[in-house]
């Protein structure tokens, strides 16, 4: 366990990822420590989403190397995918199932059990809508349900792509709480976002990406976790 905390959670070296022959990532280098919260910032088309997809084991690595939580994204793709939780712009929910049925399905595949479902529903504030079909939910409610679907899998690396988009103030606070809770639980969080003012206070690292490469990587003041905020007896 100690070895794991010393090893970087994310290690990417000279990574090249092509999207229709276009280099979405061009010899990108990045190392992120375990337990960190990293803000990935950059203009549209900079490669932020592709980087998250690479870390999730969904993007094909043309050259270079990348490992996530000690697993190689090429040769140990299944382990990588089982260890990460990707919150993407698309809902990733089955429209004709209820929220609970969706969460039950994903927790069954992840082998995390029913206890995680109730906890996730409570945390995203959807316990009262648990029996409602996803097709009847608003955009913000779908976003919350998707967040719960990621949470029931209990990922060790959270990959959040524009997590605040489409959410009201309460929803945004819920996302922030998830980030703090994930770090408290020992997970690592990577957030790609244009809402810099929102994410910066949570971040321990800020990475600027442009043209498919890291332009700047800085360590900022460690974000206080919720556990540390609480008064000590």
């Amino acid at each position: 366990m100690e070895q794991e905390t010393q090893r970087p959670a994310v290690a990417v070296h000279q990574a090249v990822v092509l999207l229709d022959r276009f280099p979405a990532l061009a010899e990108l280098d990045l190392e992120l420590p375990a337990g960190s919260v990293t803000l990935i910032q950059g203009p549209n088309g900079a490669g932020k989403t592709t980087l998250l997809r690479l870390l999730a084991g969904l993007a094909r690595l043309e050259s270079g190397s990348a490992s996530v939580l000690g697993y190689d994204v090429v040769t140990q793709r299944r382990q990588v995918r089982a260890s990460v939780g990707l919150l993407a712009p698309n809902a990733m929910l089955y429209e004709d199932l209820t929220i609970t049925e969706n969460l039950t399905f994903w927790s069954t595949l992840a082998g995390t059990g029913d206890a995680a479902i109730e906890a996730a529903l409570d945390r995203v504030g959807l316990a009262g809508l648990a029996a409602q079909h996803v097709s009847t939910l608003s955009t913000g409610q779908r976003r919350r349900a998707t967040l719960a679907a990621v949470a029931v899998r209990r990922p060790r690396l959270w990959l959040l792509d524009e997590p605040h988009a489409g959410l009201d103030q309460a929803g945004r606070n819920i996302v922030d709480a998830f980030v703090s809770d994930a770090v408290d639980a020992g997970a690592t969080v990577v957030v790609a976002s244009h809402e810099l003012d929102r994410v910066r206070p949570l971040a321990t690292h800020v990475v600027t990406v442009a043209g498919g490469a890291v332009r700047r990587c800085e360590r900022v003041a460690a974000a206080p976790s919720r556990g540390e905020d609480q008064p000590r007896a």
């Binding site: 993407a88 698309n90 429209e95």
Partner: protein, 221 residues
């Protein structure tokens, strides 16, 4: 095992709610049987003779619709990507989806069998052979179909290519199932059990190939 059941249950629950199979695929099957009946009605003996072939050709048409629906459930809302991220073994997802398609096809075949008995005045000479050969053929069709469905997704091609991919592969199943039904419905003097064994071999073969190939598509792409 519970992952296989979870995938199958999920697909069947979605079908039960959306009623696509009940309201669109099943009526399509009945309409095709009626059209065959109208086209060959001048000679009822001919219609009875060709009942096994007409039945299984209709099942193949219906299977394509059911498989396209099975694929569409995953491609909508990027659920297929979520499945890839789930960490579940590809072969378990494959068997779950194939089981769901097989259950839907089996239900439709029951209605279609009643249809040919009523519309074509066909009689069942060997009910056991009908059931066992239909089960084997249904498994073969659903496993091959589920594989080619996900291959179409993995190749990034439109699902309209599915019939061109699937029908040639299922031609041997069509022949064997038709021969087995020839015996079971007493429309030709053949040994239906021999053809049923062949169907079972196809079912096992497609299930094994499908499990391996689906895992490659789901986990390595």
């Amino acid at each position: 095992m519970h992952e296989i059941v979870a995938v199958a249950t999920k697909d069947l629950r979605i079908e039960w709610r959306s009623k696509v199979v009940a309201s669109q695929v099943l009526p399509f099957a009945v309409i095709v049987l009626v059209l065959f009946g109208l086209a060959l009605d001048a000679d009822r003996g001919t219609l009875r003779t060709f009942t096994p072939g007409l039945f299984w050709v209709t099942v193949l048409f219906v299977a394509i619709l059911a498989i396209q629906r099975s694929v569409a459930v995953e491609t909508a809302s990027s659920a297929f990507e979520a499945l890839r991220l789930s960490g579940a073994a590809g072969w378990k997802v494959f068997l779950g989806k194939a089981m769901a398609v097989a259950a839907q096809l089996a239900a439709i075949e029951v209605v279609m069998l009643l249809g040919v008995i009523i519309l074509y005045r066909t009689s069942v000479a060997d009910p056991m052979l009908v059931v066992i050969s239909a089960v084997a053929a249904t498994i073969a069709i659903s496993t091959a179909g589920s594989l080619y469905g996900v291959l179409a997704v993995g190749m990034g091609v439109r699902d309209t290519i599915l019939p061109m991919l699937l029908l040639p592969i299922l031609a041997p199943v069509l022949v064997a199932a038709t021969r087995a039904f020839d015996d079971a419905l007493n429309t030709a003097a053949v040994n239906g059990w021999t053809w049923t064994v062949m169907l079972a071999c196809f079912a096992v073969l497609y299930a094994i190939i499908g499990s391996v190939a689906y895992a490659v598509v789901l986990e390595d792409t």
